[in-house]
């Protein structure tokens, strides 16, 4: 029983990293209707930027990594993504897939094919033991930071005027445009926000996983699974699904390790069979 509790707690930490990766993807799809296959690449960029900043200027400089990734995301939106609005979803999938390959190639040419060593900040060394639950201080910090980021994001989208504009723009862009709001600028900011959140996940995951070009590919599939399970475009759905996937993966490692990487796909299959729109997916007129 103790090990199951410990694994479940570990699964929660794994889950919150997945949530952070997938929530940006969910926002980009929900607000812009873009299936961003390059999302994992922005996750990797976050990790690489934090590696570069932390090794040059210390860990506190790594806070700029998500901002850099967000700025690149906004540039990509202006140059490329905005041409895809209102077009077939398949087109955005193909274009962003090419973008993912391009970013990965850039990462390989700048930082090389191999991994880069990145350790957690020294203040997070150590282990926290709460009853049967064992967790490293760094993982506990990841849990706290992720919850704080998600709460801030929810508050931004639900409670601020900017958040209302974004949500309204995602449902009825024409009406928002008629109200005199510069919608293209809003969309640029939303895409940058999604990329920035992916990069925060990259910054947090960098000291846990090996910082390597393939981390992009390792991140994108769980992110898509979580978005599908949670319901396309649903913020709270992504949160619940991320926790489900994290805990399911950790418990599968305990009982059937060979199947651990397939567990989340089986979970997705079962949930979509029962509820094809995902857990909290709603009917959106613009996607019908």
């Amino acid at each position: 029983m103790e090990i199951i509790l410990s694994q479940a707690a570990n699964g929660v930490v794994l889950g919150v990293i997945y949530i952070l990766i997938s929530v940006g993807l969910s926002i980009t799809f929900g607000m812009l209707g873009i299936i961003n296959f390059a999302h994992g690449a922005f996750f990797a960029l976050g990790a690489y930027f934090s590696y570069e900043l932390a090794s040059r200027f210390g860990w506190s400089a790594a806070i700029a990594a998500p901002l850099l990734a967000a700025a690149i995301g906004m540039l990509v939106e202006v140059v490329l993504i905005r041409r895809l609005y209102g077009k077939e979803p398949l087109l955005s999938l193909v274009v962003t897939f090419a973008l993912a390959l391009l970013i990965e190639a850039v990462i390989r040419s700048v930082w090389g094919t191999g991994g880069r060593p990145l350790s957690p900040p020294a203040i997070f060394n150590g282990i926290v033991e709460i009853g049967p639950i064992l967790m490293t201080t760094y993982r506990f910090a990841v849990l706290v930071i992720t919850v704080a980021v998600l709460l801030a994001l929810w508050a931004f989208l639900a409670l601020t005027p900017y958040g209302r504009v974004i949500r309204a723009g995602s449902r009825d862009p024409e009406m928002v445009d008629m109200l005199g709001i510069n919608l293209p600028r809003v969309f640029t900011a939303v895409f940058g926000l999604g990329c920035g959140i992916a990069a925060i996940a990259g910054v947090l995951a960098g000291p846990l996983w090996t910082v390597s070009p393939s981390m992009a590919a390792n991140a994108i599939m769980p992110a898509f699974v979580i978005v599908a399970i949670g319901g396309l475009g649903s913020f709270s759905g992504a949160v619940i699904a991320g926790l489900f996937v994290g805990i399911t993966t950790a418990l599968t490692v305990q009982f059937w390790p060979e199947a651990s990487s397939a567990a989340m796909y089986v979970l997705m299959l079962l949930i979509l069979l029962v509820r094809p729109r995902g857990l909290l997916g709603t009917q959106w007129e613009r996607f019908e």
Partner: protein
């Protein structure tokens, strides 16, 4: 409007085709010799693949860039998965007409490439695979292998695990299954027992759940065979969860890049690998290879770079000795090729095409002060020709039934 007569057009097209066909034949005789490099370019073993390719390219440079007096042109394709590796092996034959292929890092990819090598008659030297089947039940006349097979590597460290309670961590594909099977069969011989085991899917990013299981099982040692980034991720999280120094880690078929990718802090353990760049026992020719590699890439070669260099050197020497790129002749020459710089002449055993050469046992240094030099060589799997040959097994034990050329 001017139209050309159809008959004249047909004759012109036929003439062009004939000219192209004869031209191609002439260029096959006089043009560059194409050699294939097939290693991972992406995924968990991308670092290993790059090192192996660099080593193979350097072997060509050190050979003067020519073979049989003709320029060499290399074709580097990806070994992303067994399926991709097999398709790319076919491409090597169909699209590039290569005279030989060096590569095959993972056992599963190598096993997928081998039937193509045999069918298309391409001399193929696998520079990374270790599963027994490669030179055992699945062996064929066109495939050779440089890395020691699993039983040799496992037995190299097993006498250090006497009376220990072991936890096995192996990847869930051909190589890992071979390691698990072999290690279990050797437990009784050293009075060891099994505390638990996990067969881990390739490309696992988070090992924390596995490490919690190991912690609960309280083994005396972890014995594993994780490869590439999988090993890097495991060791990084092993340290993060406070296990480094608590339970020793033993691994077979590791590569230097697995450790360089995570830095000195997370590196730990006693491991088996084919070669180490800073081994005082390395012969002069390998020291020259290290110097050339450092000059070209600004860092020392990993063992996989050495494997690529070694395999390509054998290929080039054999093509020269054959006097042509005729695959049958090249295979015969690889079968009789020897590497005379080692402790004794190393060679590919004729009846299974396995390179007979000891592996090295390394231990990660307690204090790493150099950017690249993480290991001390603490021994070899065997010493001397007789012991080494014995360790690689008899024809009955290996079970290879070599086909005709």
């Amino acid at each position: 409007m001017v139209t050309k007569p159809k008959g004249a057009l047909g004759a012109f097209a036929l003439a062009m085709l004939c000219s192209a066909a004869f031209g191609a034949d002439a260029s096959a005789q006089d043009g560059p010799v194409r050699l294939g490099i097939l290693t991972p370019k992406q995924g968990a073993s991308a670092s290993i693949g790059q090192s192996m390719a660099r080593g193979a390219e350097l072997a060509i440079e050190l050979h003067g860039g020519k073979v049989l007096g003709r320029d060499i042109k290399t074709v580097w394709l990806d070994e992303a998965s067994p399926q991709v590796a097999q398709q790319n092996m076919q491409k090597m034959a169909d699209d590039y007409s290569v005279a030989g292929v060096v590569g095959g890092n993972s056992s599963s990819a190598t096993l997928a490439m081998m039937p193509v090598a045999e069918r298309e008659k391409i001399p193929f030297i696998s520079a990374g695979s270790a599963a027994s089947e490669v030179t055992g039940a699945s062996c064929n006349r066109y495939t050779f292998r440089t890395q020691a097979p699993v039983p040799v590597q496992v037995s190299a460290v097993f006498d250090r695990l006497k009376d220990q309670k072991l936890y096995f961590m192996t990847p869930s594909y051909a190589f890992g299954q071979d390691v698990l099977r072999t290690a279990r069969s050797m437990l009784d011989g050293v009075g060891a027992s099994e505390a638990g085991n996990d067969e881990v899917p390739v490309n696992t990013a988070d090992y924390s759940s596995y490490i919690l299981k190991i912690r609960q099982a309280s083994p005396d040692a972890v014995f594993g065979a994780l490869v590439g980034l999988d090993l890097s991720n495991f060791l990084k999280q092993w340290r993060e969860l406070g296990m480094q120094g608590e339970i020793p880690v033993y691994e077979v078929a590791v590569s230097d890049t697995d450790f360089w990718d995570i830095g000195p802090d997370a590196s730990t353990g006693i491991h088996v690998k084919p070669w180490y760049y800073n081994d005082p026992a390395n012969p002069d020719v390998e020291k020259k290879f290290v110097e050339a590699y450092e000059e070209e890439h600004g860092q020392p070669p990993s063992d996989k770079a050495w494997s690529g260099w070694f395999a390509m050197t054998a290929m080039l020497d054999s093509i020269e000795a054959a006097g042509s790129t005729d695959p049958k002749e090249v295979v015969k020459q690889i079968e009789s090729w020897t590497y005379d710089a080692g402790e004794f002449p190393y060679y590919f055993r004729k009846w299974d095409h396995q390179l007979i050469r000891p592996s090295v046992i390394v231990q990660v240094k307690d204090e790493i002060t150099d950017k690249w030099d993480y290991m001390n060589v603490i021994g070899t799997s065997t010493s001397g020709k007789e012991d080494t040959l014995k360790a690689f097994g008899t024809q009955e034990e290996i079970g290879c039934k070599m086909g005709e050329l």
